[in-house]
Symmetry: D2
Subunit: 323 residues, 4 copies
Amino acid sequence: MFAVYAESFSSDEPLNGLVVGERPDPEVPDGWTTVDVKASSLNHHDLWSLRGVGLKEEALPMILGCDAAGLDEDGNEVVVHAVVRDPSYTGGDETFDPKRSLLSERYQGTFADRVAVPKANVVPKPESLSFEEAACLPTAYLTAYRMLFTQGGLKAGDKVLVQGAGGGVATALIMLARAGGLRVLATSRDEAKRSKALDLGAHEVFESGARLPMKVDAVMETVGRATWSHSIRSLRPGGTIVTSGTTSGPKLDDAELTRIFFLQLRVIGSTMGTRHELAALTNLLDATGVRPLIDRTLPMEKAQDGFAAMADGDVFGKIVFTR
Amino acid sequence: MFAVYAESFSSDEPLNGLVVGERPDPEVPDGWTTVDVKASSLNHHDLWSLRGVGLKEEALPMILGCDAAGLDEDGNEVVVHAVVRDPSYTGGDETFDPKRSLLSERYQGTFADRVAVPKANVVPKPESLSFEEAACLPTAYLTAYRMLFTQGGLKAGDKVLVQGAGGGVATALIMLARAGGLRVLATSRDEAKRSKALDLGAHEVFESGARLPMKVDAVMETVGRATWSHSIRSLRPGGTIVTSGTTSGPKLDDAELTRIFFLQLRVIGSTMGTRHELAALTNLLDATGVRPLIDRTLPMEKAQDGFAAMADGDVFGKIVFTR
Amino acid sequence: MFAVYAESFSSDEPLNGLVVGERPDPEVPDGWTTVDVKASSLNHHDLWSLRGVGLKEEALPMILGCDAAGLDEDGNEVVVHAVVRDPSYTGGDETFDPKRSLLSERYQGTFADRVAVPKANVVPKPESLSFEEAACLPTAYLTAYRMLFTQGGLKAGDKVLVQGAGGGVATALIMLARAGGLRVLATSRDEAKRSKALDLGAHEVFESGARLPMKVDAVMETVGRATWSHSIRSLRPGGTIVTSGTTSGPKLDDAELTRIFFLQLRVIGSTMGTRHELAALTNLLDATGVRPLIDRTLPMEKAQDGFAAMADGDVFGKIVFTR
Amino acid sequence: MFAVYAESFSSDEPLNGLVVGERPDPEVPDGWTTVDVKASSLNHHDLWSLRGVGLKEEALPMILGCDAAGLDEDGNEVVVHAVVRDPSYTGGDETFDPKRSLLSERYQGTFADRVAVPKANVVPKPESLSFEEAACLPTAYLTAYRMLFTQGGLKAGDKVLVQGAGGGVATALIMLARAGGLRVLATSRDEAKRSKALDLGAHEVFESGARLPMKVDAVMETVGRATWSHSIRSLRPGGTIVTSGTTSGPKLDDAELTRIFFLQLRVIGSTMGTRHELAALTNLLDATGVRPLIDRTLPMEKAQDGFAAMADGDVFGKIVFTR
């Protein structure tokens, strides 16, 4: 079948190992099913895979792609959940499985005619969402949903600060926070990004490190070192930082432990989301009319162009591949 | 000062005991403050007071009114929180204080030039809300906010059923649920009310007792006997009924205890809300642009007309008095 | 292999359908494993099965028994979790799966040389627990554990009322509540049972319906109709009733809905427990030295005697079968 | 009245400013009451006050002491809650009040014949606890109670690691964790302290930094820099560190942010406890028979000897003063 896959790794020239070609149909273990892919979307995870991060040499060739929407074996419109639990896992929340994998890490990914997934990893797609829109959800938007509403425990009327507007998860955080009735503050070093954050729905934007006019209930952290102390200082007593990444690095100058214990702050890690959260997220978009921000849509044959644009950093919103 | 108060009780002709006249300025105990009332709003509670329900003979004459917005002693625009904790109460959530009272029960109410309240019962009014709009919040909308987001634990993307569309709290429930990113289903026996529920933002409406196309995460119950079994049957396993009243009576034909334990359902009582929740509610309206539904606005001198309209049942939305 | 099974149903003479004999080895589907049974324990569920309640004619002959401890295929000492999720279930908590079954309902039970279970249904047995003790846990004690610590949310220093001391779950509730640092009050109509409740660790015992000297944080309800109003009246504002059965029937004279909403009480259904909770329960017994109460231990060949004793009601504690 | 107070500060010779003498009776503001002190206990906080940490020059002379048990104005036996909320605080949990103070910081302390406290700061003393025992609770044991059961959310059957056995809070953590049905692991650099931890009830003890035989649900952190990475590595996915101090300093070599987000760990600050938690703690001791560890009991006139012992570090358990 048609597939976009990694043939080799290169940390300097990741696109060198990218092939748009043919791969065998996926194996379908007992308890798994297949989805005919109508649309998928690109993540930085795909670029990292081509650099050999999170993917093993012996797994090559590997079809890339975590996100997809398409048709299940009965022709139903579905979204694919990218988190695959290890068969030995006995817990209830698959994101806590230390042996979990994302599609394209251990099992073949979604940039293909067809993808095989465990039966439980298929979620109904609401009619109101196009395949292109639905294909944006399983990674960036799901991560943002879990950060805000599960790990952050935020509810309508609360106040949230999103650090580092402009990033893919930050964009999703701003849009979903507005959809959930939150007051949304956002920061960026870059004026153009602050302006875009306002367009996405942020109520107020600030330069990085600026003193805020109010304390917030929670801060969404994907930046790390560059914003940590500001995040801590922006919280009300008992407030929460949800952290799901560190684009500026994880080595903090000062973890601010004294403030954490004296103000009884909470720091909560978050990564990806559950199948149940993906279903709630699709319901949220269906119920509110909010739609993921799409930078461009390309036929999957032109996947190279999408990867190149992401590598150049010249992107605001998701890059979607259609099939 | 000018005041609208109850002079006597009558269960049949409640308006007979209503006086629009003059009363002494309120006493201001240590730790209390006064608010100059700019707007207040009418609740069924006020009509019940005139019938002698929840109010004692020896407390007469009593200025009526639970809700108000106005100016504090420094001229700041504020909303008044109506729940007054007993001085002996040591808990953290004033709605759990068994000796709590609402304004106009033990302490003089808000239908007057001025009302005295504990300093903690004053919440900043966002500029974006008019005094009229803010005066609608402290009872019906606060009750709805706590039902949905505290007791119901609902978060963006969840599904909620509101029973008995048309009631004051049900109206607030539908509007606030939409503001919080929920999918909202509503029922009513009356087609006109179902139509209004759609106008308010309900996604789908149903006749009372109709089988729903999906199971919901929570049901908001203010009806009681007439809807209880339907509420139970509408829930997913582990789902929640939040109950804050029983307009059709509290005597259930069948409490459905077997379903409750086998499906692990949750029934959670709710009444009024905290000062903290009132602040979050004002923030929710400020952040989303959602505004309370106002049936009519009258100068406080014409309070009789407002009481008469409510007694006739000829009302959809809040009746606001301005001063 | 040797097995104790139901051959037919009789509501009047349930033991008539009970056979101690031979049955084929269990089938072992993909993803399942087998446990060599060293001990199992009897539940009322087994007697109900012989009456045809919860078991279908076409499932006969069915090996009975939900509870077991034994050796897994590698010779490890294990406890068996009795709740089997349906393969189509996608949620995290298997007790919310509406199509779940208990061993001996759809799949062959534990009163045999060997039982087949999903791999995830096997929990390590702590060395400090004998097979006989471990075999008491998966139904009655697991139910009690979830009621107290998950659904009831009780923590050390809280106060709990156990209604209907003497029942199997009530016995487990009293013992586990004490192990968890709770103050334990218990009721029974029967003086001998009240006395036994004190022996099990209850701090204070009362006649059914007696006014308690203090309000409690939670009531554990397995009685239903006969105790409901007393349970409601025994709670502090905001307190919780956890209900997992109704030995006196589910039809309440008065559900007490007005008290529920005005005092903001919580009614939470509970049934069985998760694999994770079974592991925590074994850890609790291992860490505290608390042990299940065993009425008698019989070789599995004498299972008839155990069933007869339970049918006579002449039991205080678990009846254990060894193999 | 008789009182033990700070007259001046000295960081090197804190005892130089300590006076055992006479001070005027405390002022009793509206809404406050007095307690006749029968016993109080010493905390490091008292020694820090004499060094001028947390206490202002202009507040001198200041009667020291946070903890007390005694008789209220009606002769009831009570324990004193040391956290005094600022009158302007409107929240529900006084430990989140940024302007809160402890007795002996802004208001006169408990080392005296009499102490004045807000009426809500008085909790009934169970008969089963002596005044000496009750006087140990309001600081170290209350801190430990909140860490374990509120901020840590630990329940019976969970596993907890206590870092730095030997400290006052760590001692309380081990004893209360056992009382609540937890499996308790503890570390110390010092063999004698590890041995004492076993005597207090720890199930297993380890050298600092040793690899544990199992992952735990939560770590109780009062050490900081020296143990942080070990605490992070000891947690199961989704596990919790509760931090309430940093005896080895707050500047972490590596905050381990990458592990925090990828394993979805939770870091929760904690400080002191609420009045409600103090009541639950007294109930826990009453219900389980667990008693605080007392190093020595001295008449309050000999308070100097107690301070000297604490300054020498020659203490294991609480130093109690009686009056």
